[in-house]
């Protein structure tokens, strides 16, 4: 902005600070709640300053479990979630890179037909086709497996479109130069297209990792074995803990744990993420 008006500056800062508070306050409450014991969390008013039970709660959530008996720690759920999110993100990227490559660079019969078929799947998210998809996955014997958790979520029209757009911005001469250099289609894909869409792949990875991590409905449906539960499902499960009151300090602890991996991914890939979504220089 070229304008330099002190009042405007103060005003915009107030708006920004309010925005930060609105986003950060629930996170703070989550953190505070995870540091108190069960009794404190049932008393009013709710605490706004951290307590002293953080490591105790952490240990309980990760290694001990909620109730005695058959309970176990929930650390493995973080691993499940990570594997599921990674498989979904990487699988989606590979499939959509290849289909975008096919659509942009090959002239095959019914090319536009397939293009529109992919387009149509935008209208069919998992929630819409959940029963038939479940049937298919069940018949394939993929219930309670990582494949069952991820395969139905891997096909992605959005990512295919994004890569299609990326490939369309790469000048045709690049392909022609590669043809004169003697590069075949796959070599061109590997040596030229992949490196040139590196930042877009990174940006998409961040988005898709979070998408995969946040999956709730589908994992709830295809997993019955507790060892396949994901951490997001578990948050839901803990809220419906039968007759007992919800154990807010533990729920908040596991919520906190569930927030961390996506944050790490975003922070680690922030630079590539921004480049991938904004950079147009080819």
């Amino acid at each position: 902005m070229i304008e330099n008006r002190p009042l405007l500056k103060i005003f915009s800062h107030i708006i920004l600070i309010l925005g930060v508070i609105m986003v950060a306050f629930p996170l703070w409450v989550t953190f505070v709640a995870s540091t108190h014991d069960a009794t404190r969390m049932t008393e009013l008013p709710l605490p706004l300053l951290p307590g002293s039970h953080f490591f105790e709660n952490l240990d309980r959530v990760l290694f001990v479990g909620l109730y005695g008996g058959d309970a176990s720690g929930m650390g493995y759920m973080l691993l499940n979630s990570t594997i599921m999110a990674l498989m979904i993100a990487i699988g989606k990227i590979i499939i959509s890179l290849l289909s975008a490559f096919a659509i942009v660079y090959f002239r095959f019969p019914f090319r536009m037909f397939f293009f529109w078929m992919i387009f149509l799947t935008l209208m069919l998210p998992v929630e819409v086709r959940i029963l038939p998809t479940f049937e298919v996955v069940a018949n394939l014997g993929m219930l309670d497996t990582y494949w069952g958790l991820t395969v139905p979520l891997i096909a992605s029209a959005t990512a295919t479109f994004m890569f299609r757009q990326v490939f369309l911005t790469i000048p045709d001469e690049m392909l022609e130069a590669a043809r004169i250099d003697g590069a075949g289609p796959l070599r061109f894909f590997k040596d030229i297209l992949l490196p040139m869409s590196r930042t877009n792949i990174a940006a998409l990875f961040v988005i898709l990792f979070i998408y995969g991590w946040n999956q709730y409905l589908w994992p709830l449906l295809v997993t019955t074995d507790q060892s396949m539960y994901t951490v997001v499902m578990q948050i839901g499960n803990m809220l419906e803990a039968g007759e007992e009151a919800p154990q807010w300090h533990l729920i908040m602890m596991i919520t906190l744990l569930a927030i961390i991996p996506p944050v790490l991914v975003v922070v680690a890939m922030q630079k590539l993420f921004v480049q991938g979504l904004t950079e147009t220089e080819k």
């Binding site: 000048p171 130069a177 043809r179 004169i180 250099d181 003697g182 590069a183 490196p195 040139m196």
Partner: protein, 362 residues
């Protein structure tokens, strides 16, 4: 080294548009052929057909005596320099040049030697070799694109308007470099441009294309001195040739401009056009200001352009509204509105049939 032979080469696009209507040319070993024409005339298409980037609908193409119609570009023993350079942005300059050689399966030493050799020909430093293309200036990128062509040691170089992305000064400099490079390497080259100055200075022979047809093929001076059609006459030479309406006298020995300017034609006159209208072409540099000469035409000057070494006078003859250009060497202090006496030198005129637009020889 190889000759390139095009026989009745044709291109029809799937939508029925005919881009190339049969081109015949025999490009000699070591020759520099320039394809020139306005945008959309098919010159780039023709070049891309030679490269193998466009399919050939009909006719035959052979490089070094071997038919290559159905060969992949990489198998045709050619190298191409693109208008926008088409350098791989994520690779260093060195790798850009080495990429094709790696695919060829050459040894590391051989690749290194070829790249270093090309770099020294093109005066690229080691430091520049390790940079990415976007860190280079336009002229340097152009050099890298040529380096990528040189390292392949091809039989034929193909240039697709390689200088049109450069600024005017650099364009002149690179033009000279391309010419020298082609002469020292002696590699057969086909060069596409829409710039007639580039075409005239670079080519051993020029092929003027118009709407997919070959208008004329010949050396630069042949095209300048004996343009085969009105199109070539207007395209070659800058500023363009002046075209006037004229009539051939009844005896065929002279042409008449307007009513009373009579110019004798050749030694024996024109045949077959007695009393008929023709188009008369005269280059701006062949119009002379001749004060007091008999039969001089009055040129009303409308605009004066000073180029330093030359002066361009724009104007028209009397009531005839056809715009004319006159080139005078040196500075000429004529002003707009002045009327100058102009003489047309008879042995520099060109005549064209107004129906077919072809040259009338005399």
């Amino acid at each position: 080294m190889a000759s390139v032979t095009l026989e009745n080469l044709q291109k029809t696009y799937p939508n029925g548009f005919k881009a190339i209507h049969g081109v015949d040319v025999d490009i000699q070993d070591g020759e520099f052929l320039v394809l020139v024409g306005p945008s959309g005339c098919g010159k780039s298409t023709l070049l891309r057909m030679i490269a193998g980037l466009e399919t050939i609908t009909d006719g035959s193409l052979s490089i070094g005596g071997k038919a290559v119609n159905d060969l992949e570009p990489s198998k045709r023993d050619i190298a191409m320099v693109f208008q926008n350079y088409a350098l791989y942005p994520h690779m260093t300059v060195y790798n850009n040049m080495a990429y094709g050689l790696k695919i060829m399966g050459l040894s590391k030493d051989e690749i290194d030697q070829r790249v270093k050799n090309a770099a020294s020909i093109l005066e690229l430093t080691d430091e520049q070799l390790s940079r990415k293309p976007r860190q280079l200036s336009g002229g340097q990128r152009q050099r890298v694109a040529m380096g990528r062509a040189i390292v392949r040691k091809p039989s034929v170089f193909l240039f697709d308007e390689p200088l049109s992305n450069l600024d005017a000064k650099l364009r002149v400099q690179m033009r000279v470099e391309i010419k020298q490079l082609q002469e020292s390497l002696g590699i057969t080259s086909v060069y596409v441009t829409h710039d007639q100055v580039e075409a005239m200075t670079l080519g051993h022979r020029l092929m003027v294309l118009n709407a997919g047809n070959v208008e004329q093929l010949g050396t630069p001076l042949e095209l300048y001195e004996k343009p085969a059609s009105l199109f070539v006459a207007g395209f070659i030479g800058s500023p363009a040739m002046n075209i006037l309406d004229a009539t051939v006298a009844e005896d065929g020995k002279s042409v008449v401009i307007g009513t009373d300017t009579v110019l004798p034609v050749g030694a024996n006159g024109v045949e077959g056009f007695d009393g008929k209208p023709v188009k008369l072409g005269i280059r701006p540099e062949h119009l002379e200001i001749t004060p007091g000469a008999e039969g001089a035409l009055p040129l009303t000057v409308t605009l004066v352009e000073h180029l330093g070494a030359d002066t361009l006078l724009h104007g028209h003859f009397g009531n005839d509204k056809t715009d004319l250009t006159l080139r005078q060497s040196g500075t000429h202090l004529a002003k707009a509105g002045e009327v100058l006496p102009i003489t047309i030198t008879p042995n520099h005129i060109h005549l064209f049939d107004p129906e077919t637009e072809k040259r009338i020889d005399f």
